[in-house]
Symmetry: C2
Subunit: 344 residues, 2 copies
């Protein structure tokens, strides 16, 4: 049995979309057992609309809900909130494997680091989404927003953490790692990039291929792209904006004339396939890497199928043994001996 906590109140469409998605996940995975945190009456009302296996669902009642606009660090103190209650349970109960939330990213990061805690040796947790790439696979972009300002040792750890995730979550035996930079040459970038380049080149346990550019996230040659959280966030959201614009223009053009409407009928399936390949919400949310248990942050605008994918992803990552893999990879590499000057 895999016990997973689900924040029923986080996200724009909570609790309805969360509960629906969770029930979808339950149907697909007979091993799954879910515990919702949130307002019991609201959650139960949503559950009552659905068919589900009652033996595999619990509700941990709490009244408070953290908003996207709440200050993340202050939010951590709100122990009766659906998110912080989940973190407290995750920490205390050994039999709970993972936590999925579509709530505030900032609060999820703060709560994870403060209430759940980091794996021994991890400097900072990082947000790591899986982005579809032209090889029909995914690129892990780490960090994507948890750490606005970074030091080289943090970026080196992100490389280790995301490599472990690539192995465990996506079965990539030897993940290739690139450093996000404004050009591929070794000397490119600011002091942070230049220093990190040097350390990554010398590091054991990371298959570093050098600098990569923004375009390589989606079309490139590596499985992991390492970035500070500020830049990773800009890259991720630039991609999101481009995707939205293109799909929007496509929709407009494909319904502009009778001729194009007819064409659309023929291409409907191809367009659905295309959207499927490009929909990175289906990829299962962003992992909060470096924490003591598996935590998946799903998009704030998550639909039921997004939540279902995030829960399935969390179960998959737990089964793959992410946390032990991260522990092992940290033990095998003595980062501090490489990086003396940038140690915090």
């Amino acid at each position: 049995m895999i016990k997973i906590l689900v924040d029923a109140m986080g996200g724009d469409k909570a609790p309805a979309a969360i509960v629906q998605g969770a029930v979808q996940a339950l149907e697909k995975d007979r091993d799954l057992h879910l515990i919702f945190t949130g307002r019991q009456s609201e959650i139960q009302a949503e559950l009552n609309k659905l068919k589900y296996d009652k033996a595999r669902v619990e509700i941990a009642d709490c009244q408070d809900v953290i908003d996207m606009n709440d200050n993340p660090v202050e939010a951590v103190r709100r122990s009766d909130s659906s998110m912080m209650k989940a973190y407290a349970m995750l920490r205390k109960q050994d039999d709970i494997c993972a936590f999925v939330t579509a709530g505030s990213t900032g609060a999820a990061i703060a709560g994870g680091q403060i209430l759940l805690g980091r794996i021994r040796g991890v400097k900072r947790a990082a947000l790591c989404p899986a982005i579809p790439n032209s090889r029909g696979h995914v690129t892990l972009l780490c960090d994507c927003g948890a750490n606005t300002e970074c030091k080289p040792i943090m970026l080196c750890q992100f490389a280790l953490l995301a490599s472990a995730y690539a192995k465990v979550g996506f079965g990539i035996a030897n993940p290739k790692v690139g450093l996000l930079n404004n050009g591929t040459e070794e000397h490119k970038g600011d002091a942070l990039r230049q220093e990190t380049y040097k350390y990554l080149s010398e590091m054991q346990g990371v298959d570093f291929i050098g600098n990569v550019e923004g375009r390589d996230i989606m079309i490139g040659e590596c499985d992991v792209v390492v970035a500070d959280g500020y830049t990773g966030n800009i890259a991720l959201k630039s991609i999101e904006g481009c995707g939205k614009l293109m799909l929007g223009v496509m929709k407009k053009e494909f319904s502009a004339t009778l001729r194009s409407k007819i064409g659309y009928l023929f291409l409907k399936k191809a367009i659905k396939n295309m959207r499927g390949q490009l929909d990175f919400e289906k990829a299962g949310g962003a992992l909060l890497l470096g924490l003591k248990k598996v935590v998946v942050k799903s998009h704030g605008s998550s639909k039921p199928q997004t939540i279902a994918a995030a829960i399935a992803n969390a179960a998959n990552i737990y089964r793959g043994g992410l946390v032990p893999a991260v522990e092992k990879s940290l033990e095998s590499v003595d980062l501090n001996s490489i990086i003396m000057e940038s140690a915090e």
Copy 2:
């Protein structure tokens, strides 16, 4: 008459694509007069394949060509190169209005700052492409790679420079300016972003709307997005990669089955329209803002129509009076009084 220099040897497809594109531009604009810099025999051989108005074309012969891999600062000394010869002529000859190159970005920036020089008061030149957005217009992203490390005063100047470009080049009367950040809240970002936010809020002559995210470049509410060159480059190339992936997936899916091939026949025009709206090479290259004359950097893989668009854009910007507009906007704002602590 508008006299424009064209680097005939810069770019992957030079000199053929450059010469062809230049002749296309000549045909469309009877006022244009072009001077190619580069190997006379090779340029003439390309010209001989085309019909063109001989009275409006000159060649300034030189033998050296700067490569994408050459060190930019060292490249500046190579005065017999097609790029540096053009810069020397641009500086000396008052009747030459602008310069278009598809050669090395780094060398174009270095040559521009060293050989041509910046407008009085400009701290650093910036690379500023026009990116299509969901309003059917363009967003100017400034800087996109000229300055890897920036201070707040530089970002504030980029806001002024790009606002002048938006007015002159795209007829936007009151360009709205956003600061590229990892969230829209005022406190977001690193020290550079937080400080710049404060200054931009107080600045005259800039219609600052606050922080914008990566997605806002293509779908957002502002005309100018201000970034340091490192981040701007990551954003631009992330968008480029996403666009390439989507068009690639579309092509694959639309030719996968007989059904989809039939649909494609009906949608051909719509897809062409779509590509047209999303093709930011057609938008006329990236402007090197802050230099004493108009300099347009076209993509290294420029096709003839890309070069034609870049030349047309250069003529348009010159006619609009970009350099005087920048001078005027710099005079009207006393940046140093706002930004004491970040002055270089």
